[in-house]
Symmetry: C2
Amino acid sequence: MRDVANALGVSSMTVSRALRRDTSVAPDTRAAVLKAVAALGYVPDQTAGSLSSRRSRFVAALIPSLNNPHFSETAQALSTEFEARGLQLLLGYTNYDAVKEEALVTAMLRRKPEAIVLTNDGHTKATRAMLHRAKIPVFEMWDLPKKPIGRSVGFSNTQAMHDFVRALAEKGYRRIVFLGERDDEGTRGAARRAGYLAAIAELGLEPRLSNIIRPPATMSDGAAGLDLVLSEWPDSDLIICVSDPLAFGVIMACRSRAISVPETLAVAGFGDFEVARVSHPGITTVSIDAHAIGQRTAQAVLDALADRTSAREPRNLILPIQITMRESA
Amino acid sequence: MRDVANALGVSSMTVSRALRRDTSVAPDTRAAVLKAVAALGYVPDQTAGSLSSRRSRFVAALIPSLNNPHFSETAQALSTEFEARGLQLLLGYTNYDAVKEEALVTAMLRRKPEAIVLTNDGHTKATRAMLHRAKIPVFEMWDLPKKPIGRSVGFSNTQAMHDFVRALAEKGYRRIVFLGERDDEGTRGAARRAGYLAAIAELGLEPRLSNIIRPPATMSDGAAGLDLVLSEWPDSDLIICVSDPLAFGVIMACRSRAISVPETLAVAGFGDFEVARVSHPGITTVSIDAHAIGQRTAQAVLDALADRTSAREPRNLILPIQITMRESA
DNA sequence: GTATACAGTGTTATCGATAACAATATGAGG
DNA sequence: CCTCATATTGTTATCGATAACACTGTATAC
């Protein structure tokens, strides 16, 4: 920066101002500075700038995994929105692990992000303490947290599954199984099961819970899941699976057992993963707008940073889900 | 930091040393410092540390998109490897656009990353100039660059398709069509087409090129693609599609036209996307180990940063691809 | 007993920018 | 022609850590 200043015979403060276009600098001076900057190939040091101005222009976000297309889409939306405002997204992967999350939060806070976005519910005590001390806006997205730290943007797995079951019941299904995971306390799967149970109770139907071994349920658990359901409740007319990949596995198993879907047995999933679209039959499922979650969260973060957080706005923003009826149910 | 130092009656330099565990500090002193740090909830300011030590502990990586599972997997591998060494990944999305890439490189370089990883081949002049001036290790991954800037880690689309065609010819296919994109100069699709043409020439077969409208080819282009192929070369026995989604679309179109795959017409894809696995029939394709690309790139970056870049190692690391034969060809 | 090495800690300068305030010039108004 | 507001630029201190060197005390070698 000094080189640029010397080349023009001005002070480095003038160069700084010209580059940040936020204070009054004569148009000619600014032009000359920009020209010299380009000529010399000067790249400002944001680290020094951040230290001095106490604005890092970072926003940290922790997501469980990038390999889940839902989260990668949310991350991309966050990144795009922030970038447009000159903020850099600092991304970390918790791998659904609260201890790893704690380590990542520690690492992130050293970078002095202006806000932080979390995805998992369920944080360690230490994580909560650190976030509290950091005195920056904290956002939780995707799941609605039971004990919110700051504001949140997401949807209710319980409510979504509740609505889904009612919509399917309206199509005539009565002997409805929920095929989920065992030992899944605190996970999304458990929240979905709760929604299923609530809806079934309201409808006066018989609750039929089948659980395969361990989260996460995958395509290859489909065969075992189907066998389990058929042995417990052979007359079922619909299996609602905790997620689309499991539903796909169940449909594959139906095919090899010559059970026609949906005529003999209907199958539904959750999440609207790609597999739900390309499956034959297409899987009836619950669609979540991952991009919207990212966008709305980013908007909330930007509002908080601009201190535009109107008191009217809810602390918990609940986004609507969409039920996508395809051929499988 | 001063608070911690005062609380213990030591200098802040001692606190700094104790926290970085890289210089000699008495074990008792270190323990006391760590205890005080925990008690006070002190979070070191990495920004100040970076400015002073001139080590940002950032590595920048630009990928075309997070929504492509290949790239998100690579990104996750990079992040994991770097994190284990205390480096933070700075991620950006170019959206396959060299101009956007230039803007991102500018933004990234302000953060003084210790190395930078790029994905697209084809950079603007300004991008190259900036990277050169930055005097940090530059890596290109996925595609092997025509004009490498630094080192590279990836595979050759041309070579991969060449090998793929030969492997399929060995299975007996002779009237082989390449279904790709129009106006795709410089893209991966064009490189694959070149590999197809080379293999076909070696085999003494007739080149059959069909091109649908514009990149990127998607599932929904399958029907048009199939019609195009059938009108130009009705007797074809194999269609190699530029990517798996297109291959899936072609297979779907075959189904609705009652063409049996692979008996009447075989179909192959490229990339081993999820759709290739869940399709019925499963799609014969070329598998690329996206995770390995990330891992190997990270390793190369770490080597460069540790100055362990042995002269033996090639500047361009070419990873093997794998041909995955499924039912569709 | 003295010289030397080294472990452990402190002091000072500095990283490269920006904030806050100071100084100067310019033009309007009377 | 003088005063004052405003536009533009400069000066100095500072952000919070680390590098480099200085210093002290203890152990070791002879």
